[in-house]
């Protein structure tokens, strides 16, 4: 069982959270290479965005055809898209067939409880119009959220 990374994109096409466990630049300080992650986030978003619009075009108009997983030779991406436009994405090794329950838990028990219920945390991370459409840079900084994600996903990392 191995999870490589976890990403959240908001309705403004911005990556509002990323955590990559495989990048270990400096384990003692816990910092990851943020510039590299930013590019990866854009590519990941682009891949899901394209495949998602194709899969929706392939389905009939009135039926609901949401993309769930994408597999490559190296990894599998697990995707949860909510009706409100949030995307939760987990990258794992190929042994993970289905992580939809894990994604649901991340959404309903962690994101909702620590971000949505927390009046100190924003729910819209684009503060101005310039930060929409993938131009944003703000992330979830909420300590409770970071802690809960680490506690929940940490054991699944390897």
């Amino acid at each position: 069982m191995a999870i490589y990374s976890f990403w959240i994109f908001d309705r403004h096409c911005n990556c509002i959270f990323d955590r990559e466990w495989t990048l270990k630049t400096n384990p003692s300080s816990g910092t990851t290479n943020s510039k590299l992650n930013e590019d990866t986030a854009k590519l990941l978003y682009g891949m899901i965005f394209s495949l998602r619009s194709i899969s929706q075009k392939l389905g009939s108009l009135d039926s609901f055809n949401e993309i769930r997983t994408i597999a490559t030779a190296k990894y599998r991406a697990h995707i949860l898209c909510t009706a409100s436009g949030l995307w939760f994405v987990l990258l794992s090794d190929l042994k993970q067939e289905d992580l939809s329950q894990v994604l649901r838990y991340l959404y309903s028990e962690i994101y909702v409880k620590t971000v949505v219920y927390n009046w100190l945390s924003p729910v819209d991370f684009a503060e101005t119009a310039n930060e929409k459409r993938g131009q944003g840079f703000r992330k979830i900084r909420n300590r409770q959220f970071l802690l809960a994600v680490e506690q929940f996903l940490g054991p699944m990392v390897n």
Binding site: K113, Y117, N118, L120, Q144
Partner: protein, 291 residues
């Protein structure tokens, strides 16, 4: 209806009283809104949308607050904690936006709670005076008729009560004698520890302790405060709202006091809160005279 003692807000009499515009002591307080239809049948609703209301004469008498039953089961008993949490957060934001300092925010929350507290003392005392069996007998089942659709637990037993809506007995009929007023500080605190806490949070508080240092001081302990559980990393004590509720109840019971909250985390209960009730000196003096 049978003869009625004057018990405002407790009867569920839906009949209207022709020509009653002033206060009628045999009826209790009446709805006083200016544009309410005065009596059923004769005068059609004059409201903004009183289009085709002549036929629906049965509906022209609107229920007033005084017709609502005080029975806890006569209304929706629960809403989701989520709905409350969202509302509570807006209450806090509102207080925050209108305040310049942390203590001012807390004072506003306290005041919001206080206004709830002063309303609760009478209501809860009244309810705990109702004899335990009342409401389960066939004659008073109609109490539940409004909610039997919603309240899952009662649905089976009360389905047949759906048809009866008129002769709902007053809750006051279930009271043989009113519960005595609490006179000692310990009594009223126990009332808060058990009755009030159960009413608000569905369980009794975790502890009620008397301070060993000051004899006017008592402590109510809540290991996991319900209302502020989703609020984190803030220097504002949002449970000042609950302090306000407690103080409102104690004040209206003639126990003037000051209630504050202190966060005392324990390993298993990070949000453990201690509510400190500090009675004014006059309460102790009165207590000394009574003894």
């Amino acid at each position: 209806m049978k003869q009625k003692i004057i018990n405002p807000s407790t009867s569920v009499n839906t009949a209207t009283h022709p020509g009653s515009t002033g206060y009628d002591y045999t009826m209790g307080p009446q709805q006083t809104l200016p544009d309410l239809p005065v009596s059923s049948g004769t005068i059609a609703a004059s409201g903004t949308n009183g289009g085709s209301s002549t036929a629906a004469s049965a509906h022209t008498s609107l229920p007033s607050v005084y017709n609502g039953s005080l029975h806890p089961h006569a209304h929706n008993q629960h809403v989701s904690l989520a709905a409350f949490a969202f509302l509570f957060q807006e209450l806090i934001s509102q207080a925050r936006n209108a305040s310049k300092s942390v203590s001012e925010i807390e004072m506003r929350l306290h005041r919001n709670g206080y206004h709830i507290g002063i309303r609760l003392l009478e209501l809860l005392n009244f309810r705990s005076s109702v004899s335990p069996g009342f409401g389960s007998t066939s004659s008073s089942r109609a109490f539940f008729s409004k909610t039997s659709i919603n309240s899952s637990s009662n649905t089976l037993a009360l389905n047949n009560a759906l048809t009866t809506t008129q002769d709902e007995p007053s809750l006051a009929q279930g009271i043989s004698h009113m519960k005595r007023r609490d006179l000692k500080p310990v009594e009223i605190l126990q009332f808060i520890h058990s009755t009030v806490w159960t009413y608000l949070f569905g369980r009794v508080s975790d502890d009620l302790v008397k301070s060993s240092e000051r004899d006017n001081e008592y402590m109510l302990v809540d290991s996991a405060p319900m209302l502020s559980q989703f609020i984190s990393s803030t220097n504002v004590q949002c449970d000042f709202f609950v302090c306000g509720i407690i103080e409102g109840i104690l004040d209206s019971a003639s126990f003037p006091c000051n209630v504050t909250i202190h966060s005392v985390p324990e390993p298993n209960f990070q949000q453990r809160a201690v509510f400190v009730v500090r009675f004014e000196q006059q309460v102790l003096e009165r207590e000394a005279l009574r003894a």
